[in-house]
């Protein structure tokens, strides 16, 4: 994985010093809270309901053992012994003290980590495919491109005061595991008819209150123009994105109001101009970065078979493992969704254990997934049983990837000051219900996503089943959505009808699952059945 050189290190160190000075000026009263807020946000610090929350960047979700050990130490030292992995492949701590944040950031910098631009109206941490560098179906490893753009977007002087936040995802396979088209910019690395590698740009996607799927605005940007083209996309947005209304300020609204064609035309004009400005790093820089992402020294001729005689292990392999490009290897996902647990939470001990296992068995690498789990990307099949046993003993062996227990939930009203309703308890109840009645095991792939308000941090629009917390005359109420998807067949879920109270929504999810179990045909997932039979049978069962 990528390693800092003296320049990268100098930049994060300078950032810590700058932030330490900002905190000093805030505490001395030289900065008002209004002036300080965007500064702390661009260092990942939010004020939540009960305390500050710090969001640490995990660029494109990739971590090594030293970094994970540090994250665990931070959980112990500055928080309550837990960390919370997020849908942006980052990690958050929920109980942070402002005065301690400069020291915390200095500790992060000592392991080449930071919280730069994890919040605020700027280009955020860039996300990617969590199987990058391992997946059998990828064209190339997308992470060098993500790293190139990470450096370009860090402290970009023109783009730190955008109309609104800006999220970029980079993938390089047909299968979209990063919800690429639900980003402000989604980039797919592709090969054109001439056999050259380049990037397709999708601009103007997003969730939130006005969910939109990004249109393709350019099918092929050559690799030696990636930064310049991105800069053109951002400049048009910075100049013309709406600033009169926070809820209309994302780039998706600009692209929608102008029309994709007109937006693309303006970008082309800016792009042609910027090509004359010499702002593109040479291809040698991409090569330099790419070298860090070379394959680890895989053993050739490693045994490609697995002993599946232990049925619990076999189930975990079936559900939580993914094909690797290298024979004899496999990618395994550690579910952070134990039955009744808080989705995405890991204790310091669990983080230490995952780090140890990664160092021993996965070439010192882990990935945070946008579904709030952890991937061990490169496990020798011969080691897999031993790995699973260690995980299982620590409560990390839950076999529920992509099933109804693998719930994505935002922090909701337990932490978030914007929330209308709690998300976590609903997730816990649903996970317990489907474990107790045994239906969870028969449902197959069913992606359930919960947001505590219309801001959609829990991606409820993109869930096969989505739940949205709303405020109904002062009480928590939950709307049910069906039919969303964030995969290559991206679609947005539709609301079934009137909402439910907390117990009612748990029942409603079970009712929807029952309709599927009754109606499904051979090989159909929940989403497929829904797409075939439509909303009516579900409505009938829910409200009829």
């Amino acid at each position: 994985m990528y390693q800092y050189d003296k320049y990268d290190q100098a930049m994060v160190d300078a950032r810590v010093a700058e932030y330490r000075d900002q905190v000093r000026r805030r505490l001395e009263g030289k900065l008002t809270e209004d002036q300080f807020k965007p500064l702390r946000l661009q260092n990942g610090l939010y004020l939540q309901l009960h305390a500050y929350m710090l969001r640490v960047a995990v660029p494109y979700g990739t971590l090594n053992a030293r970094q994970m050990h540090k994250l665990a130490d931070i959980a112990d030292k500055y928080d309550r012994g837990y960390g919370h992995f997020t849908t942006r492949q980052n990690i958050q701590y929920n109980w942070i003290k402002l005065e301690e944040t400069p020291d915390l950031l200095a500790e992060l910098a000592s392991v080449e980590m930071h919280a730069i631009q994890t919040s605020g109206n700027c280009i955020r941490n860039i996300s990617s495919d969590h199987y990058a560098g391992a997946a059998a179906d990828e064209l190339v490893d997308p992470r060098p491109y993500a790293e190139l753009l990470r450096q370009w977007s860090s402290f970009h002087p023109e783009f730190l005061h955008l109309p609104r936040k800006f999220k970029i995802a980079v993938i390089a396979s047909e299968t979209d595991r990063a919800a690429m088209r639900l980003h402000d910019i989604g980039i797919r690395i592709v090969r054109n008819d001439a056999g050259e590698v380049g990037a397709a740009f999708y601009v103007g996607g997003g969730m939130g209150r006005t969910p939109m799927i990004a249109p393709c605005i350019r099918e092929f940007v050559p690799l030696d123009q990636l930064v310049t083209y991105s800069e053109a996309c951002l400049r048009v947005y910075n100049r013309h994105g709406r600033r009169d209304n926070k809820y209309k300020a994302r780039i998706k609204i600009l692209v929608h109001e102008l029309g994709a064609e007109e937006y693309a035309r303006q970008v082309e004009e800016e792009f042609a101009h910027l090509l004359t400005q010499g702002i593109e790093p040479p291809l040698a820089e991409l090569e330099r970065i790419g070298a860090y992402f070379a394959d680890p020294p895989f053993e050739t001729g490693a045994s490609d078979t697995l002993d599946l005689s232990d049925p619990d292990f076999a189930l975990w392999v079936e559900r939580n493992c993914h094909a690797h490009k290298q024979p004899g290897y496999i990618s395994a996902t550690i579910s952070l969704k134990p039955v009744g647990g808080i989705p995405g939470d890991a204790s310091a001990e669990q983080m230490h254990l995952m780090a140890q296992i990664a160092e021993l068995y996965s070439f010192d690498e882990m990935r945070v997934t946008h579904a709030q789990n952890i991937v061990l990307p490169h496990i020798r099949k011969a080691d897999l049983y031993a790995v699973w046993q260690q995980l299982d003993e620590a409560g990390l062996g839950t076999a529920n990837l992509d099933g109804i227990g693998d719930i994505i939930a935002c922090p909701g009203l337990d932490y978030c000051s914007l929330a209308n309703a709690r998300s976590i308890p609903v997730a816990q109840k649903i996970s317990e219900r489907f474990a107790a009645n045994g239906k969870g095991d028969t449902l197959g792939e069913l992606k359930l996503k919960i947001s505590g308000c219309i801001n959609a941090c829990g991606h409820h629009h993109a869930g096969h089943i989505g739940i949205l917390g709303v405020d109904r005359k002062g009480t928590e109420n939950y709307q049910l959505l069906l039919g969303g998807s964030e995969a290559a067949d991206t679609s947005l879920g539709k609301i079934t009808g009137p909402g439910f109270d907390e117990d009612g929504i748990v029942n409603a999810v079970e009712t929807a699952a029952d309709v599927y179990l009754r109606e499904r045909q051979e090989g159909e997932r929940f989403l497929d059945t829904y797409r075939r039979i439509g909303m009516e049978p579900f409505k009938e069962a829910l409200y009829g």
Binding site: Y7, P157, P281
Partner: protein
């Protein structure tokens, strides 16, 4: 380092140029495009900086107003002017704060007229925040990628 003028409203607090400042007030973009013989113009966030490009030869001062520091359109305006070859004074005016000084310099601003005078020590520190820079912008600093492959 910057010359120091008397701080306060209507005063340039930091200036990184040696030439004589323009001694008359800047006109609005609309007025400038109408009469067109002024040598100082003020760009508001909603103005199109490219509208004045045909006349930059005659300009000696462009003020870019930041009515609120969170509105970042002025950064693009500044770079657009520098990219078009404008070499006159480029002044950030309005809600100009310590923590925006470094990036304003990077976008080509070379004088600063904050609504409220800034703390001198804090400002001098702010101008030297970044030991290196990741991007090519409107200043003459070599980006990190250029140094890596120099």
């Amino acid at each position: 380092m910057a010359d120091l003028a008397t701080p306060g409203p209507d005063a340039v607090q930091f200036r990184f140029r040696d030439d004589e400042p323009v001694d008359h007030a800047a006109v609005t973009v609309d007025a400038f495009l109408d009469q067109s013989n002024a040598s100082a113009v003020r760009i508001e966030p909603g103005d199109d900086a490219r509208a004045i490009l045909p006349h930059i030869e005659q300009l000696r001062l462009v003020e870019v107003n930041f009515p609120g520091f969170m509105d970042g359109r002025g950064y693009s305006s500044a770079r657009i002017l520098r990219e078009a070859g404008y070499t006159g004074e480029l002044r950030a005016v309005g809600d100009v704060l310590i923590d925006q000084l470094a990036i304003m310099r990077r976008c080509g601003f070379d004088s600063f007229q904050p609504d409220r005078a800034l703390d001198e020590g804090d400002a001098q520190r702010a101008f030297t925040t970044w030991p290196e820079v990741y991007q090519a912008a409107a200043d003459d600093r070599a980006p990190i990628w250029a140094k890596r492959h120099g």
